[in-house]
């Protein structure tokens, strides 16, 4: 009996132990699962898993969860807003939801006089379920619509690109299409960054841009010209502070603007800029060493080459040196200098200056220069005074900057450059100093062609150019000119380059019928320098009190009948 009881107990214990183990295991798994689920849910709700796409706070912290990513803004160098995107409301209607169409048309036409009743009747009597009535309504009009209680109306919010400064830097900013994609200017070039919400800061200075536009427009009106272009550029960094093309347009009305106004004369238009290119001729002559510095050229008689006769606008009856060729703007002298250094040297330098390619500016509207490359003597000669070579005003500004920047190449840019440039050298420092001295004399000398550009104290230097306009059918328009001036200041250490071009000015009574660059463009540069120099922190200087190292070379420039001794 005892043995039976012991067996039963042992057997029962073993069975109980097994059952208990099973129970414990099941409970353990159940609790583990429960606590794991609870733990996971608690942790996930607490927002530890921030990278989850379901997580609400993650999305808001990283911006733009509740609103679609809006296009980035464009700012000028002083963080002044040039372009932004705002939310506007558009007026739409579902014609199928309109019960009393006549009454609705009446109410709508009363609220919005621009919507005529005929159009509204057409739009409301369609099978469509969504018809746009107005692209944009003001908040006030929105409230008025709500008060009227018109059925079927659908107000939708849309993004709208706005340019608060209207016409300012119109050609630079460009525009966007209806879908918000950049179609011109900065808007197009930086479309990828802007559409991803990135802001762009450009090198333009709004104040200087406005002054440039205003002064240029005044002169265009004074001389009844067709248009013009103006560029203000830092001659050390290539940063463009102002760039205008006139006539311009209100950027907010881009789509309603004709192509004539949209055309960018400063970077896209190519022109024969005449004698302004004589600066390059002199620079090539000095730099190549193929012309002696004190060599003189007889300009007393017109120069006949092939079928063409080269004449001077201000003829001189004696032989003149290179500085005098530039100051008097002698075509004959320039042609003779070019004959000395030849076509190969000329083309080599033009290529180094970037005259064979588009300017690498950060907008799509860049014009390709046209240079006659037949290497004939006549072509070499005419190119030397700016004929047979058509470039954009931006090319001219860039080459002027290169000359005055101690001969080191300057590439124009619309971005603020923070790093020091290590560009290649085109001209020697010595050549640069000689040309800077000559440029100063063109403005300072009583015989200079740009006397009217002299802004007291700011040591302006430059070179004028007057050229007959190219006809669309080939050849030249004898009575239509392109006048230009490329200048820099202060010439002892040039910081800024100004290039101005005016298209087809007419002779005026106050200009005694003249429509040359000296009369038309030089005063623009004077006004511009006087206005912008204080903004740019350039102080007026006493030229006679300059340090020796900053002094320019004082070439002697003789007048009309002073060549007897040569």
């Amino acid at each position: 009996m005892r043995a039976f009881i012991d067996f039963k107990d042992n057997f029962g214990d073993r069975r109980n132990t097994k059952f208990r183990k099973f129970k414990l295991l099941a409970c353990g798994i159940f609790f583990l699962f429960s606590f794991s689920s609870i733990g996971y849910r608690t942790v996930s709700l607490a927002g530890v898993n921030k990278s989850s796409s379901q997580n609400f706070s993650f999305k808001t912290e990283n911006g733009g969860f509740y609103e679609p990513l809006s296009r980035g803004n464009i700012y000028d160098r002083n963080k002044e807003l040039l372009a932004t995107t705002i939310v506007t409301s558009s007026l739409n209607i579902n014609p199928q939801e309109v019960l009393d169409k006549e009454n609705t048309i009446l109410k709508l036409s009363k609220l919005f006089p621009q919507l005529n009743q005929v159009t509204l009747t057409e739009k409301l009597n369609t099978d469509k379920k969504f018809v746009n009535l107005l692209r944009e309504i003001s908040p006030k009009e929105h409230v008025m619509l709500l008060n009227e209680g018109i059925e079927g109306l659908k107000i939708r919010t849309t993004n709208k690109r706005v340019y608060p400064n209207n016409n300012l830097a119109a050609h630079l900013l460009g525009s966007t299409d209806i879908d918000g994609i950049g179609i011109a200017g900065i808007e197009k070039s930086f479309n990828n960054q802007l559409k991803n919400g990135e802001n762009i800061t450009i090198s333009i200075h709004s104040g200087i841009q406005h002054i440039t536009e205003k002064i240029l427009l005044e002169q265009i009106n004074n001389f009844e010209a067709e248009g013009g272009a103006g560029i203000v550029m830092n001659s050390k960094t290539g940063e463009v502070y102002a760039m205008t093309s006139l006539p311009d347009y209100n950027v907010n009305n881009y789509n309603e603007t004709s192509d004539e106004f949209l055309f960018n004369k400063a970077t896209k238009g190519i022109y024969e800029l005449g004698s302004t290119l004589k600066l390059l001729t002199a620079a090539i002559a000095f730099d190549s060493g193929l012309v002696k510095e004190n060599e003189v050229f007889d300009v007393s008689r017109p120069l006949r080459v092939s079928s063409r006769t080269i004449r001077d606008f201000h003829p001189l009856n004696y032989s003149i040196n290179i500085p005098e060729v530039i100051v008097h703007s002698s075509n004959i002298g320039s042609a003779k200098i070019a004959e000395k250094f030849g076509s190969s040297t000329q083309l080599k330098y033009l290529k180094s200056l970037g005259f064979m390619e588009k300017v690498n500016l950060e907008i799509p509207e860049n014009g390709m220069p046209q240079v006659l490359m037949d290497r004939k003597l006549l072509t070499t000669m005419t190119i030397s005074y700016g004929h047979g070579i058509a470039i954009t005003p931006m090319h001219l500004a860039s080459s002027t900057a290169t000359i005055v920047n101690n001969g080191v190449k300057v590439n124009p840019t619309l971005l603020i450059s923070e790093k020091k440039l290590n560009n290649r050298r085109v001209f020697s420092q010595n050549t640069s100093k000689k040309i800077k001295s000559i440029m100063r004399l063109v403005v300072k000398s009583e015989h200079g062609t740009a006397k009217k550009a002299e802004a007291k104290g700011y040591l302006v230097g430059g070179k004028t150019g007057t050229a007959e306009k190219l006809s669309k059918n080939g050849g030249y328009l004898k009575k239509q000119n392109i006048v230009a001036l490329t200048a820099a200041f202060p010439m002892n250490d040039p910081h800024y380059v100004i290039t101005v071009m005016i298209d087809n000015p007419k002779g005026q009574k106050f200009s005694y019928g003249y429509r040359t660059a000296g009369w038309v463009v030089a005063p623009v540069v004077k006004k511009l320098v006087t206005r912008i120099a204080p903004i740019l922190g350039i102080k007026p200087q006493n030229e006679d009190a300059l340090d020796f190292s900053e002094k320019l070379i004082q070439y002697e420039i003789r007048g009309k009948n002073k060549g007897e001794n040569l």
Binding site: F31, P164, N165, A455, T530, A533
Partner: protein
């Protein structure tokens, strides 16, 4: 002996379950508040963009120039208006010397 820990564990599960429900309720409620705050932020941002655009419109260089000329009677700075301190001291000295003479 066995029943006591089981009771504690069941009790804990109930407590944790209730807490979880409370947390979920609390978070859902806060999510709604957060959504409304974010909507307000979004609206305020949009309003700010409009205000910035309006400010920029009012600060247009042509408008500022017009105000400066017409209302404040300011004119452009001429080179003769700009003096450095040394020139000013020299000029003062020469005036003083003239007065002494």
């Amino acid at each position: 002996m066995i029943k006591y820990p089981s009771f504690v564990i069941v009790f804990l599960i109930i407590i944790v379950g209730i807490s979880l429900y409370q947390i979920k309720y609390f978070i859902t409620k806060n999510e709604v508040i957060l959504q409304s705050i974010n909507t307000k932020i979004s609206k305020t941002r949009s309003d700010l963009e409009i205000l910035k655009a309006e400010l920029s419109y009012l600060k247009r260089p042509d408008r500022i120039e017009r105000i400066a000329l017409n209302k404040l009677e300011l004119r452009e700075i001429l080179p003769t208006d700009i003096w450095n301190l040394k020139d000013l001291l020299d000029a003062t000295d020469s005036i003083n010397q003239r007065q002494l003479k």
